[in-house]
Amino acid sequence: MSSRSDFKYPKVVETPSRFRNAIGKYRLHRTDDCIACGKCVEVCPYGVHVAKRGMVLVKHPYRCVGPECPDPCYKNCPQNALSLRRNQDFDALGDFRWTADLLASTWHMAEYGHVPDAGLEYKTGNSGGGFDKLRLVLPRAEGNSAAGNGAEIPDMGLNLNRRGDESYRIRIPVPFYGGGMSYGSVSIHTMLSRVRAAAALGTFCCTGEGGYPDELQPYDDHIITQVATGLFGVREETIQRVRIVEFKYAQGAKPGLGGHLLGDKVTASVARMREAVVGYPLFSPFPFHSVYSVEDHKKHVDWVKAMNPKALVSVKVSTPTDVDMVAVGSYYAGAHIIHLDGSYGGTGAAPEIAKKNIAMPIEYALPKVHRFLEEEGVRDKMTVIASGGIRTPHDIAKIIALGADGICIGTADLVALECVRCLNCESGRGCARGIATTDPELMNLISQDWGTQRIINMYLAWLEELGRILKRLRMKSIRELVGRTDCLVHLDHLKKI
């Protein structure tokens, strides 16, 4: 068990892109006028230029921060041989929620383990509402001695069993764990990268509903196994192997729909794991046809407790209008964790109408549940986990201030593995970039060591940034931030006093 004193975070190891040309926001053009004087190599703080065999090259253009550079090479060049322009490839990337800036800054964090120095908006996206309109309210920084600098590193830990019952007392040293992605929707390399990163951080990662591959066994202590409506690969033995079992009632991206794995992705190994037929699409039913009430739900929880009496039970639900009733019902059924997955959450395949229109965004659902559990007097007995469109350390701080205890991560892990959000996870052989695929050739585009370190680096960058925010709020623990809506402002409702 990880306690605060003996746990040490892993180290950052620089882990560059697995592709030859990493995509950056800017491009630098060098003309033949260059005399290889080396001035640019000298002034650039980011290592964009490299001198090699009497030549100077723009070796790492993606590192360039553009006009925000404190001492730009193109202004220092004695020959005027350098010019800066925006990279058109960059402008073909991204969307409203995951802007190109957010993608590139996540790649930066996965490579270096720190937030970008300049040039990229890494805090918010461009969706025009929710997280992207919320801002943290921080005491004004005073000169260089920003409040709390140099003080003790804030405590990021989170107890997952707040009921204080006979089940495992699990404390994770970070306020997040990995969300479910099934074997089949993603490759074993992707799964292992996520699980190993979670283990390195002392936290957890969920299997999703596609079964429990043997390769995960060494990490049993860091795995949440999921029981979803299809019951794929769920066996007594897999329930007994873990410390946390998650019931997936619904998924934010496709509320009212079960999982959907297209035929092409049902390869021999996936079919074996799911006890299905190769090449046939798999639709999980919806809902659990054994659960039509909170009493039925309690039966589910009791069933897990009969098999694995010490396991924590997490209940993953989507966000209907009566999500608060669902949450309080889960408490009375004996669950330890209520996991709310907002409507803008991730998926491997879902109808677009469901992603956009059904159920509410997490920014609305979470405060509603938080308040309702408080009024019911059971808030401090439940661990409330939020997910569904949480992309950055700032999103984490905002949702915790709105009332969450911790968060669950999905898409951001995949972006660390260089997902470009082309939205083609579901089609044909799956992801062309080897992340969400079970194609033997494509999945080998990722090595486990590379993937693990990229995700660890991103987590470490998040923790560093969260630590900076907490220090500025003069908080010693992330627990102090829970429900502190006075630390937030919504730009549409802002009135200056």
Partner: protein, 465 residues
Amino acid sequence: MPKKYVIHTRIVPHRFEPVTPSGIIAWEEGCLKCAVCVKTLCIYGVYDHRGLNATQMIDSIDNECMNCFRCVQSCPKELIHKSMNPEFKAIGDSYWAPNIIARLWYQAETGKIPVSGAGYPGPFSGPGFDSMWTDMSEIVRPTRDGIHGREYISTAVDIGKKPAFLTFDADGKPAEDVNAIIDIPLPIMLRIPSFGSITHGIVKGWAMAAERLGTLVAVPEEQMSADLAAFAGNIIPVVGESSSGAEVLRGYHPMVEIGAPEAVNVSGKFVEKQNPGAVTVVAIPLAEGIEQRVLGLAEAGFSVLHIQGSRKGSFVDDQSRSLKEGIRAVHVKLVESNMRDRVTLLASGGLAMAEHVAKAIICGADAVYVDFPLLIALECRMCRRCVKGLSCPVSIEEASPEWVALRSINLIGAWHNQLLEVMGAMGIRDARRLRGEAGRAMFFEDLDQATFGSLGELKEGFELE
């Protein structure tokens, strides 16, 4: 239980290459001629069968590229790039956005629900129907597994007069006319769009689609032709005050629409004389005071009322007010006046995506008319050249009625499945029960105010990050 309603769709290819959001720029100059070129590694084989559509000047790689960026990121000389297509950005307008049009093309071609990987990429919310979310059922109440046909969900609705009770005269006969009720298997009727390169053949194609779908199509009187006689039972002629000749009607029509409320007296008499017993719809432009006008007509005995919004889903006299708002106001007014169950409310204007149908019904409509999506199903780019008398870039006027019918059926088939998806998630088994279920929807205005309304304070000495 009535027989399950299924719309059979099949692939109906486009006649013109669709405009795509982005393209590939691949330079040849400086190419190293690597033994294994990154282009050969494309998992979609985009470069293998590259071709140029010479009439449209479209390179097939632009249409087939799936945006994985692998070639861009792997070429040792960085000769391959992606770029946004300005032509794509230019199609449509602020309301009929390029993405909406492209998705309609896809549905008309395949008949399938658009499915994709990864979470929702769009804006948090938007105007009109984009500022509401539909509810879903979970644990504390059951859903319906409708989408794959595993549980029965009915989408049928009735249009016509619905008296709350019957009255009888001394002979025991009904004292007033009990008008016919028209039962359609889905809450969608078709309507001829107000512009487009629309010929008699195109209208015939839509009439064929209406017949095969079991629904109706509203056709303005000037577009009625002899071609339509065979489809009279599926056509709603839209008549104006000037309609006097019987040539507007082509046989007996079970439903007739009066195009303007000013014309109700004159046109009403004409319809009653020429087409007795038909269900009469009165169209009312969506404008300030709509709820009073609808109520007035309902009290005057008109039983089917059609709220006609602008092409962009707004009030015709105020672009800042949406069709959503108009339908809700009318519905609430009728409920308060104890009139709601006596009338059928139809809505039209700016219904551009499948979710708009479900949302219009949740706001209070019984059924909707779909217009421009039918034109976009025929590859229309909403460029409005036809309005200026210029040629249509996709020669819609040359399309065959059969192709028009099949593309339209595909589109409506995809929309019907999406309606099932929304209803299934809500746990609603009957489209009649969906009407006015605003309590099973979540509105941006309410949620944002309730959640964030109090988060507006920035005290001295603090800053935002």
